[in-house]
Amino acid sequence: MQPQFKAIADHALLVTFADEISEAAHAAVIALDHAIATNPPEGMIETVPALVNLLVSFDPILTDHIAVETHIRACLTALNIQKVSGVQRVVQVCYEPPFAPDLEAVSNATGLPREAVINAHLAGDFHVLMYGFAPGYAYLSGVTPEIQVPRKLAPVRDVPAGSVIIAGPQCLVTTLMMPTGWSIIGRSPTPILTNDPDHPFLFDVGDRVAFERIDASTFARLTGEDAHA
């Protein structure tokens, strides 16, 4: 897959593998991200993997677009693009009230009973596509087609951190109190912002995610938060 290079201002290169979202393009992004992490160009500040492209930002005092592009082209010739197979991460979810205010609506929209919606969510094959929107907001692909629902017409305010939300094929575990137009189907006690200085975010882009169902009493025990208080 031959990417396009585009200079961004005086301090970054955008390496784009495709115009449209595809598994192949995302696999190439992750492969290049790993290759650059192993062998970073002089003066690089960071890389940012997204759906079809990788941003490589650098210090313009130390290097320039041409030098960075030359380095990345060398990485590309040796690139081994394989199906994404990151680390598997487990995220616990409680699907009980009051943590799942939109479960009923998803059930109505899909014609599936609540239990079937929950099981369909648990059966999803989730991968971390990219982070965005806010710190720790990891976009996961893999919501099974039978429970894919569109965004709401208007966002809901003050959705608590830890909410498990879905829209179309994507799923996300929120990390902050934020508005969202996605459907809230559960609450997770699993911290995405880990507070571990060596590994501050639970996922890396490309990781696989498995959701594990917990009941309200387990949630309360894990968080010290009583759902019905």
């Binding site: 585009k6 200079a7 961004i8 201002a9 005086d10 301090h11 970054a12 955008l14 784009t16 115009d19 449209e20 979202i21 500040i45 960071e46 890389t47 940012v48 993997p49 997204a50 759906l51 079809v52 492209n53 990788l54 941003l55 930002s57 313009p60 005092i61 320039d64 677009h65 990219m130 982070y131 965005g132 929107f133 806010a134 710190p135 720790g136 907001y137 990891a138 976009y139 902050l176 200085p197 501050p200 975010f201 890396d204 882009v205």
Partner: protein
């Protein structure tokens, strides 16, 4: 060394603790944050002889009033043209003064500029997140936004009599249109639309915060795709939403987004863009990425020389009087 204890008698919205920022975390959805006007922030630390990037307070147009409850500490105030009230004395930003126990310092919007910095001769205590005290305003992570009534501690506070007085302002910043490199999605805009973007005047709207500034000007027509696969954003990205309105993303920007970007502001022009205000009119001019690097390097060199220059202590009042007497003596001898 002693601590100085300050209380925040008043803080407007978006008065935050900032340091040099936390680059390297964009892949986790975390923009670098740090000062909106990096040169003014660096100047505040340099004028006190502080290490580069020491935590300071970024003051918005909302202003701030600090009350010194314990200890004495010298502070440097830079950025824009803000009003600085110290006890009964009123001066302007780009000054160094000593705040003593019982005294009040107010920094509020003046004739121009959107952001001022208060640096301390000492260490401003603040919460750290991912190795930085810079406040990420949308999450509140890092040092945080100042709240009226809260206390601040400056540890190892010192007074620096040899640094008091006006700080020379930087005189090397360009004054013309804001320089951009077009793209990375300029192909989603007709050539005449890009030309119109580069030749039109835009007004800064009041939808301006640490995340970005929305502009008011001619509608920027999208040629084809209204959105693209969500992709990385940088500080300075000029994204165009579906209604044809451009927004310049700034220090606390989202890290990815699906709006096409018509252009990206060159890093050495971000600070002066950030110092504009709602109602101000700006224009953009296009430069090549190579030319932008050349200009940024030139600007960085001049900034380094300037910061070195203002970091030299001017001597105590006694020493300065002595020096002036000597000059006086030379002339009249």
């Amino acid at each position: 060394m002693p601590n100085a204890a300050l209380s925040v008698a008043f803080a407007g919205p978006l008065v935050t603790v900032q340091d040099a920022g936390r680059p390297g975390n964009m892949r986790f959805g975390v923009s670098a944050s740090g000062p909106m006007d990096r040169l003014a922030f660096d100047a505040a630390n340099a004028a006190l002889g502080n290490a580069t990037g020491q935590s300071a307070i970024e003051v918005s147009l909302g202003g701030v009033i600090l009350q010194c409850r314990e200890g004495d500490v010298t502070v440097a105030i830079t950025g824009g043209d803000f009003v600085v009230a110290h006890g009964a004395a009123e001066t302007r930003s780009w000054t160094v003064l000593t705040l003593r126990k019982g005294e009040r310092l107010a920094v509020r919007a003046g004739k121009s500029g959107s952001w001022a910095y208060i640096a301390f001769a000492g260490t401003l205590e603040a919460a750290e997140w991912l190795g930085s005290r810079a406040t990420h305003s949308t999450s509140g992570f890092g040092g945080g936004a100042l709240q009226t009534g809260q206390s601040l501690t400056v540890s190892d506070a010192t007074t620096r009599e040899d640094r008091l007085g006006d700080i020379e302002r930087p005189d090397f910043l360009p004054t013309g249109p804001i320089r951009v490199v077009t793209g990375p999605q300029d192909q989603h805009f007709a050539p005449e639309t890009v030309a119109q973007f580069l030749s039109s005047a835009f007004k800064i709207t009041d939808a301006y915060d640490r995340m970005g500034m929305r502009l008011n000007g001619p509608r920027i027509e999208l040629d084809g795709a209204l959105s693209i696969p969500s992709e990385p954003i940088v500080r300075g990205s000029v994204q165009v939403s579906g209604d044809g309105v451009p927004t310049v993303l700034l220090a606390d920007h989202q890290t990815t987004g699906g709006y096409p970007k018509i252009a990206t502001v060159v890093s050495s022009d971000i600070g002066r863009l950030a110092q504009t205000r709602a109602g101000d009119t700006i224009q953009f001019t296009s430069t090549s990425s190579q030319q932008a690097i050349t200009e940024t390097r030139e600007c960085a060199k001049r900034a380094a020389d300037y910061l070195t220059h203002i970091a030299v202590p001017r001597g105590t009042l006694e020493q300065r009087l002595m020096r002036e007497n000597l000059i006086h003596g030379c002339i009249y001898d």
